[in-house]
């Protein structure tokens, strides 16, 4: 298992390195002078000159790349054009909000998706099955932000069950340590604050979780259908095992292998999807940060965010592969 993990880890290194190269090239390809692109239209010639020297835009390209790597190593990802704040600080400050949202969305998708997919397969052709298949189609085709609108319109604006925007009611005046509002509320014992954060999170999480939910339902269903016709499930029946044990040990365990992959892939996609959802619900997370950066062409922010998100995405996929190795002994060999 350790050998498998190390091998998989080593495979990720060239991908990450390639990613850094790609982002480096991307900055150089931006329209106009890269120094000016990184400083914005309002920069004075003196500022442009200073950055050009600092980043070494007048040096050979390989040397520039080496300087870029050194800056990355120091944690220097540049400063935002619009706020002048360090991009790393800006990102880290908003990160908890996005993590909270993505985790909530994934919990929503997994907790609903796996049972629905499982029972749909087990009762193939039933009304429940039809609803699951139809509903998952719906999840695929409706644009994420349109779904966010609909949820906001019905449950926040018309019914008033949930707040329309933000992460927490500012009047609550909650204490924040970690930036994870729900966790903070629980840690400090401010239950009303935690509950309020949960209510704020509900609609965005559902909107963001819709696509993963649809995916998980479909994959689980298809996978369970495959597995229940496998010979080893017949063997389990021939052993006289109870239906409960067969379902848990022989069907679900095997059927969840492809589901694990999808969960990993979708968790990464959630970070990108957050750009849309956070904006609709006015959550000040990484998504909104990127949204604003796109709007104002704030390249340093955009560059760093793409790098971070891709990095997180790669790490999650790495973890997924390793969990795959944990569930399926055959995967460790190849």
């Amino acid at each position: 298992m350790i050998r498998f993990a190390t091998k998989r880890l080593l495979q990720a290194v060239p991908v990450l390195l390639g990613l850094v190269v790609l982002v480096f090239i991307w900055v150089r390809l931006l329209p106009g002078d890269p120094a000016r692109a990184l400083l914005g239209e309002s920069a004075t010639p003196a500022q442009v000159e200073r950055l050009r020297a600092a980043y070494g835009f007048d040096r050979p390209i390989l040397e520039q790349f080496w300087m870029y790597l050194q800056r990355l190593g120091r944690g220097d990802f540049g400063t935002s054009l619009t706020t002048g704040e360090s991009v790393l600080d800006g990102f880290l400050r908003r990160f908890p909000a996005t993590i909270e949202l993505a985790v909530a969305a994934m919990i929503f998708a997994v907790v609903l998706g796996i049972p629905i997919g499982y029972f749909a397969a087990r009762h193939r052709g039933s009304l429940l099955d039809g609803a699951a298949v139809g509903g998952s189609l719906f999840g695929f085709v409706v644009p994420v932000f349109f779904l966010a609108y609909i949820l906001k319109f019905i449950f926040a604006l018309k019914l008033g069950w949930f707040p329309t925007a933000g992460r927490q009611d500012p009047r609550i005046n909650a204490t924040h340590y970690s930036g994870f509002y729900i966790v903070d509320g629980i840690l400090t014992g401010e239950w009303d604050a935690a509950w309020d954060a949960v209510r704020h999170l509900a609609l965005p999480a559902v909107a963001l979780g819709a696509i993963p939910l649809a995916m998980i339902v479909r994959i689980t269903r298809a996978s369970v259908l495959d597995v229940i016709s496998e010979d080893y499930v017949r063997t389990a029946k021939a052993k006289g095992l109870t239906r409960r044990i067969i379902s848990r040990r022989h069907v679900l365990r095997n059927a969840l292998l492809p589901v694990a992959t999808i969960i990993g892939l979708q968790t990464g996609a959630l970070l990108a999807g957050a750009v849309l959802t956070e904006t609709v619900f006015a959550i000040n997370g990484v998504g909104s940060y990127m949204f604003n950066a796109i709007g104002s062409m704030d390249y340093p922010v955009l560059q760093a965010c793409i790098l971070f998100v891709a990095l997180i995405y790669t790490v999650i996929n790495l973890l997924t592969d390793m969990s795959y190795g944990l569930i399926d002994p055959r995967a460790r060999l190849s």
């Binding site: 052993k239 006289g240 109870t242």
Partner: protein, 341 residues
């Protein structure tokens, strides 16, 4: 090979009795009539007896076995009666079947690679059946599992028990499968082509192992095979199936020495490794079972049979005793006579 080690006990207690069994697989659409895999099968298995069910692939022998075990899916239609130890199996609630399966009767499948769960260890797959049916703790079940692996001839069972199926060779896997099936000393063991998926070099070993264990524990064995070479060494009685029905049934020597049904003769002639002189050319039966109409107009084999007479297609053919003793059953309108092949 040890063909004669098993005592011939055809008159043991009646263990399994199958009467007028029909198995119909669903069609692809609702209107389509399903595939009739088994169309009226009768046979008995007595305690300690080895009955071989022989036929080409697709003749319904596996479908029969699965019906006995109650392992067909809910959309497969099964009628007729299967009585095991005097209790009806068809239409019995799953819960009660589960108490019997793995304990009173168990099954070995053709391909051990797919029949074993790939993601759990050999230990778990053995322990779970012991813990289900025997009143054992995890520790005891584990010790018993190691014993079982030793009994089926797996070297270093303490270590092998931690393996996953893919880490074992084909022969070892089938030994594990046998250990699982034998774990609770069932009265009846069904072996569905247990050696077909294995290398020819180890087929005999595995077959010998099954026979040895079955004899040792006085289990009845329902051996399903297309290979008459296997039958020649093992079975007490042989039932030959064609297109979903038994066409001939007799004691082992009787079947080989005095086959009466034309299909049985064809099967024997087309088997290469049979007692007697080597032939230059193997005979094949013209046509294929695929053309067979399942018994609606007389004999299903008639279209392929060189000896078909009008009576074959007209009459309702029953499985009736021929000759003395009443042990030799035949379903044929124009049977072969005498001992020549």
């Amino acid at each position: 090979m040890s063909p004669a080690t098993a005592p011939v006990r055809t008159h043991g207690d009646l263990l399994l009795s199958v009467r007028d069994l029909h198995v119909t697989f669903p069609g692809h659409t609702r209107k389509e009539i399903g595939t009739r895999a088994v169309v009226g099968v009768d046979f008995d298995v007595h305690a300690g007896e080895i009955l071989a069910l022989v036929g080409e692939s697709g003749c319904g022998k596996s479908a029969t076995a699965l019906a006995v075990m109650g392992l067909h899916g809910p959309d497969v239609k099964i009628t007729g009666s299967v009585e095991f130890d005097g209790v009806p199996m068809v239409g019995r609630p799953e819960r009660e079947l589960n108490r019997l399966r793995g304990k009173q009767l168990s099954m070995i499948f053709q391909d051990p690679l797919t029949a074993l769960n790939p993601v759990i260890t050999v230990e778990k797959q053995l322990v779970e059946v012991l813990m289900r049916h025997e009143d054992l703790g995890r520790k005891e079940a584990r010790d018993r599992s190691v014993d079982l692996l030793r009994q089926v001839g797996i070297p270093d069972p303490q270590k092998r028990i931690k393996d996953y199926p893919h880490q074992l060779s084909g022969g070892m896997r089938q030994r594990v499968m046998i250990a699982i099936a034998m774990a609770c000393n069932p009265h009846l063991l069904i072996a569905d082509e247990p050696t077909t998926a294995l290398d020819t070099t180890i087929q005999a070993e595995i077959l010998d192992l099954i026979l040895e264990l079955a004899t040792e524990r006085a289990m009845a064995l329902l051996l399903i095979t297309h290979d008459l070479g296997v039958v020649a060494q093992t079975a007490h009685r042989v039932a030959v199936m064609y297109a979903g029905r038994i066409v001939e049934q007799a004691g082992r020597y009787e079947i080989f020495d005095q086959p009466r049904h034309r299909y049985t003769r064809g099967l024997l002639k087309s088997t290469p490794t049979l007692v007697g002189e080597a032939r230059d050319r193997l005979d094949t039966i013209p046509g294929s079972a695929f053309d067979a109409e399942p018994w609606d107009q007389g004999c299903a084999f008639a279209p392929r049979c060189d000896f078909a007479i009008p009576a074959c297609q007209a009459s309702q053919l029953d499985l009736v005793p021929v000759g003395a003793g009443g042990e030799h059953l035949l379903r044929c309108a124009n049977p072969a006579e005498g001992a020549e092949q």
